[in-house]
Amino acid sequence: MLIFEQSTEGRKATAQMPADSQMVDAEKRVSELPAALLRKSKVPLPEISELEAVRHYTRLSQKNFSIDTQFYPLGSCTMKYNPRACNSLAMLPGFLGRHPYAPPEFSQGFMQTLFELQEMLKAVTGMRGVSLTPMAGSQGEFAGVAMIRAYHSARKDHARTEILVPDAAHGTNPATAVMCGYTVREIPTDGEGDVDLAALKAAVGPQTAGIMLTNPSTLGVFERRIQEIAAIVHKAGGLLYYDGANLNAILGRVRPGDMGFDVIHMNLHKTFSTPHGGGGPGSGAVGVSERLLPYLPVPIVDKAADGFRWLTEKDRPQSIGRLSGFAGNAGILLRAYIYMRMLGRRGMRRVADFATLNANYLMVELRKLGYEAAFPRRRASHEFIVTLKKQAKTLGVNAMAFAKRLLDKGMHAPTTYFPLLVPECLLIEPTETESKQTLDGFVGAMREILQEAETAPEIVLGAPHTLPVRKLDDVRAAKQLDLTWRADVPN
């Protein structure tokens, strides 16, 4: 039942209303505002009691799968355990009550924390400068490509109008390149999951502004010839952009800076375990090599003799400017800092070690059941792809059906149909915080579903059976648009 269907005219959560004593003089002041600028129409918010609100939203939450309640191997999303201490400490009154424009003397605790986060991210990625303002990976990508553009423009190198993007790249890559005024040229991937070097050589030229790479790639394999790729692109005058979504696989072992990348973004809500919150918020901190330092988005925290201060447009005239109202998703930055301090030096490396161990273990165990790995001759990184094209063809049961049936087994499904390159694709990322027992449980479930697909496919095709709703009609949702509840429209 929607909250609006529980609304009762005149009902109020009175404890949340400013008291009558506060309203004294308030109505008079409002009446002094120009009548034409005042709202006449009713505000269609629900009229409910505090108990009704608490009950409604508490029960709604129970309908969600989440890391706190289920195994959530959603490929390319790094759904690792979000430590509760990161939440409680980021919400300490001192941080929570601080106005973003509070002067430096009321901001040293906050700014020192951000400064140290910048330093740690530089060390972990091998980059020379970091800005924390991008609000998520996509805006980090935008900042990265915008910096590439600023770099070429400053050198009057206006012919460079093209960004190379591997066909396996995440959709945000091409979308970002276009937002930065570039045309996108896709580079194919070869059978072993590597970027097709020949195609790359053919594609680079004076028109190449840069290439957007993910390493390990979204195919779950490490880009083995990254050094050659870097040389090819750099030789052609282009820059290398690194999509940091898969940093979890190589944390503490390999640094993008050492791979020759000029600019990177990181997804703090993936690698550094800030909450995915039903879709966000995230943080897309960006790192740059020496030559792109002047273009970093502002503000950036700087450590001066007399304490920490903000570097703004005045200090960085060539900066690509601001990407948000203040300084990025502050609370998320605090959470990432807390997580990194708890991991510490050796903890970082163990993240990559055990994320990779878990992925390779799962790949091997699933192959024993007869599932087909997309790249059988490759090591899994922190994730790997299983293709169900055989099952789809022979049993008529595709990847979506397997995914829905996994929900019945009490586990969130892996990412489906991404990257588009691999047919009937399941992109599986267990993360390092899951135990062997949980992985064995997943393997057990995949065994059951395979048997069901062979012996009683209708069970798998009709899944999910055990959730608040059965399979939902996407097509109808797009055809008969119902994006806002209306009292007059029967549901």
């Binding site: 409002v30 109202g325 990025g328």
Partner: protein, 453 residues
């Protein structure tokens, strides 16, 4: 080292199953030259006890000054239930609802959020969220240019009464798509856009006109006039509003004859703590006919195979994971958790609660402005009506005054001299419903003392 459950026995069994003798072997595809042995600059890991001690020290160092700054982030009382529910693991640690049947909690909540925001702005449709108010203006401008079937130009009029940081952000985001943001001056008497300010743009093809109400100074623009002016020139109207004012002020959908086409802004004043600048969330609403131009996620209602009502992400064809380079926006992760809290806030406050909070905030700022203006050397800068924020003029640079106030644990407001030198010694002040009459009196007495020196 924390958050790794593997015991030695587990590792041994897993390596055996994979058929390698060590974890290092799993990285054998990585060129040795690229492999590092250690991260010397990163400090050793510390346990929860030590990090708790450290962060308590850091948080308490920043103190709890009395805050009269608005300028895009407003101190609100937030009901205790809001974040106690939003912090539940099922909301906190889920992700984008790619599997709708396993995410009906998040999906229904977003559908309710979309309904509330469309209702507040009196427009038809809302998306699930954008990053914040500033980047939402950029997306709204891109959307208006995309959505304007009449205008060929990519010229967008943006009065300088719109939040300067919003304008700067919009510029840095849209500048590479040859969109021209044309700054329109304002009347320094009224602090709002006067008809004569529009003279220079009478003719010429304009894709859209942006209008912030109340504007950055808290002054109330003649929204009807500007909306009709834009529509008469086939330009779309992009409204920028503090959503917590819309229970009191005329909503964008009711501006002028046809109403604004797109409304956007920051949802922070609806239940999101100041939290040093974020995470907040950007909202964006539009008329039905522009829905396919909407950036970001949108939730739609549908039915399951047994006719039960349910919710899914819809119109995904616009989005980057399907349309890739032709997507309406590159946004993927949005501000989900913050929207969850804000939706609970709007449910708890309801129409009457929002109206009262807005009315009391307005009252408090009116009394603050009147009280401060009684001090010699302090006057209200503009003659226009204002809402919840107001500009005061001083006879000496504001920076020094603010520093003195800060030493007495009061954040006096936002210094306008950097962005609006033409306004002289101008200070933007705001007193929300969290301020008591005693707080206002303390500010006045402290200021009087400072100005006497």
């Amino acid at each position: 080292m924390p958050f790794i459950p593997h015991t030695d026995a587990d590792v041994k069994a897993m390596l055996a199953a994979i058929g390698v003798d060590s974890i290092d072997r799993l990285f054998d595809e990585i060129p040795p030259a690229l492999t590092i042995a250690d991260l010397p600059e990163i400090p050793e890991g510390i346990g929860e006890l030590e990090i708790t001690r450290l962060m308590h020290r850091r948080a308490s160092r920043d103190g709890t000054p009395l805050c009269f700054i608005g300028a895009g982030a407003y101190e609100r009382h937030i009901p205790a239930a809001v974040w106690q529910i939003a912090g539940r693991g099922e909301f906190y640690s889920a992700y984008t609802p790619y599997q709708p049947e396993a995410s009906q909690g998040t999906l229904q909540l977003i559908y309710e959020y979309q309904t509330m925001m469309a209702g507040l702005t009196a427009l038809d449709v809302s998306n699930a969220s954008l990053y914040d108010g500033a980047s939402a203006l950029a997306e709204a401008v891109l959307m208006a240019v995309r959505g304007n079937r009449h205008s060929k130009s990519k010229r967008v009029l943006v009065p300088t009464t719109v939040n300067p940081v919003y304008r700067a952000t919009a510029h840095s985001i849209v500048k590479n798509q040859n969109i021209e943001l044309v700054e329109v001056p304002f009347s320094t008497a009224s602090g709002t856009v006067a008809p004569e300010n529009l003279k220079a743009y009478e003719s010429g093809d304009i894709a859209a006109v942006v209008l912030q109400q109340p504007n950055f100074f808290g002054s109330l623009e003649d929204a009807a006039m500007l909306t009709d002016w834009a529509h008469q020139r086939q330009a779309l109207v992009v409204a920028v509003c503090d959503p917590s004012s819309l229970a009191l002020l005329k909503p964008p959908g009711e501006w002028g004859a046809a109403g604004a086409d797109i409304a956007c802004g920051d949802g922070q004043p609806l239940g999101v703590p100041l939290s040093s600048g974020g995470p907040y969330y950007g909202y964006i609403c539009c008329k039905q006919d522009l829905v396919r131009q909407m950036p970001g996620r949108i939730v739609g209602r549908t039915v399951d195979i047994e006719g039960r009502s349910g919710f899914v992400l819809t119109l995904q064809a616009r989005e980057q994971h399907i349309r890739r380079s032709k997507a309406t926006s590159n946004i993927c992760t949005n501000q989900g958790l913050v929207v969850t809290a804000s939706t609970i806030y709007m449910g708890l406050l309801g129409p009457e609660g929002l109206r009262r909070v807005a009315a009391v905030s307005h009252r408090n700022t009116r009394r603050l402005a009147e009280r401060l203006a009684r001090i010699k050397g302090v006057s209200v800068a503009f003659d226009s009506a204002y809402f919840q924020e107001c500009v005061l003029r001083f006879e000496q640079p504001v920076a020094g005054i603010l520093q003195e106030l800060a030493q007495r644990n009061i954040l006096g407001g936002f210094d306008l001299s950097e962005h609006y030198p033409q306004l002289g010694n101008a200070l933007l002040v705001c007193a929300t419903e969290t301020k008591t009459d005693e707080d206002i009196e303390l500010y006045a007495q402290t200021l009087a003392e400072i100005l006497k020196k």
